[in-house]
Symmetry: C2
Subunit: 213 residues, 2 copies
DNA sequence: GGCAAATGTCAACCGCTGTTGACTGTAGAA
DNA sequence: TTCTACAGTCAACAGCGGTTGACATTTGCC
């Protein structure tokens, strides 16, 4: 978010792919921080060390750029891999503390999810991505009954937490003990990760036999 | 979202307060559905049966209008009142089925929460509202340790669900059995509503004694 | 070296949208 | 009836922001 032509771009020889990814990365930052509407094409371009016209050259339009940013940003595989028993804790910890290595970028995907939700055009794109990529992957990792539905509920839970904790930041959450947050969030997630709600009297007969992975 | 001057407004005699609330209600719908950026002043005004200039007359600016919409839309008291034992189930049911009486408006507040999160100016307003109104009310209803934090986590959980289930709507959630959704969501909420996560080995010594109601 | 495609800049355009000020018509009091 | 304050319209303004096409510069191939 330097708002001035990045030094890296200054002495970069003409290289279309490098420029493309530079724009892509700048756009990711701007979209995540400011949202689609408030991120100007000129700003993004300048941050990438290029003119705004390049956005249209490489991505057709600002909307096309946004689409590629969304497309590129979602890969939750690395988060999911690992010991399944500690999955809830790892996810919770990631949301509260952010990704260990990359300082801030670990939080970006879910913020983009939020931004995309606001943008009708991107919402469609995002739905496809979730339906055919992220949720199935997570669902497979979860296993058990109704894995797809449970995957959706988990992503929903994480998204909601990200919004309140990272964007709105009311005192009640911002000032809370972080380990306590991890514990509580993790506990909430665990219920959905480990299958529970079946043996429970429901108003409607439970035999709907929907699997929808 | 009629996009043509509402009939109600057509034969409405000159009445400033009626017009004011008409604008307010139209704006609530538009902001919730399309977001702040994509909701045009002319659209909103036409939906209210008035000219765009009226928005500036009554609310100063579009942003002022948005502020009042946010201010007005948040009153969760009625949701919270009632048997505490069934609170989780009632909340979950509300999110899945919408508010019984009003067909669609029951879902609007949380969508507005999302919209407001995207708008930096509104985010401040929203934080204040949450901090000093909604979260304390819910916290008092919850009782027990860390009530404020738990209230925040619950609102976060509900918000996330609203976004995925009402806006993104991936198959895995949209096609799921609704009673199953209620059951699972309710189960996830219940963990936070009924205090659990304290007797649990934590990496950090648990005695932080933060109450933050 | 020279030519052509690729890479990038620049300035202008244009549509959209919030806003404003002058104007019109209606309602109610004198 | 007439006058005034108020409710509302209308047209024009202004500026932001995405987009475009004409122009400059570099790169790489013959």
């Amino acid at each position: 978010m330097t708002s001035e032509r990045s030094e890296a771009a200054a002495h970069r020889r003409r290289d279309s792919t490098a420029t493309r990814t530079a724009i892509l990365e700048a756009a990711t930052r701007h979209f995540a921080c400011k949202g689609y509407g408030h991120a100007g094409a000129r700003e993004i371009a300048m941050d990438a060390g290029v003119t705004a016209a390049m956005i249209n050259r490489y991505f057709g339009s600002k909307e096309g750029l946004f689409a590629e940013v969304i497309e590129r940003a979602f890969d939750i595989r690395e988060l999911i891999d690992g010991d399944r028993a500690t999955l809830a804790d790892r996810l919770a910890r990631l949301m509260v503390y952010g990704r260990p290595g990359a300082p801030e970028s670990g939080r970006i995907p879910l913020l983009l999810l939020l931004r995309a939700a606001t943008e009708p055009a991107a919402a469609d794109l995002l739905r496809d991505r979730l339906e055919s990529e992220n949720l199935p992957v997570l669902a497979e990792r979860l296993g058990g009954p109704d894995a797809g539905t449970r995957a959706g509920l988990i992503i929903a839970h994480l998204t909601g937490f990200a919004i309140l904790y990272q964007m709105i930041r009311p005192r009640q959450l911002a000032d809370a003990d972080r380990e306590q947050l991890v514990a509580r969030l993790s506990a909430g997630l665990a219920v959905t990760i480990d299958e529970p709600p079946d043996p429970q009297p429901r108003p409607t007969p439970p035999k709907s036999s929907q699997k929808n992975l």
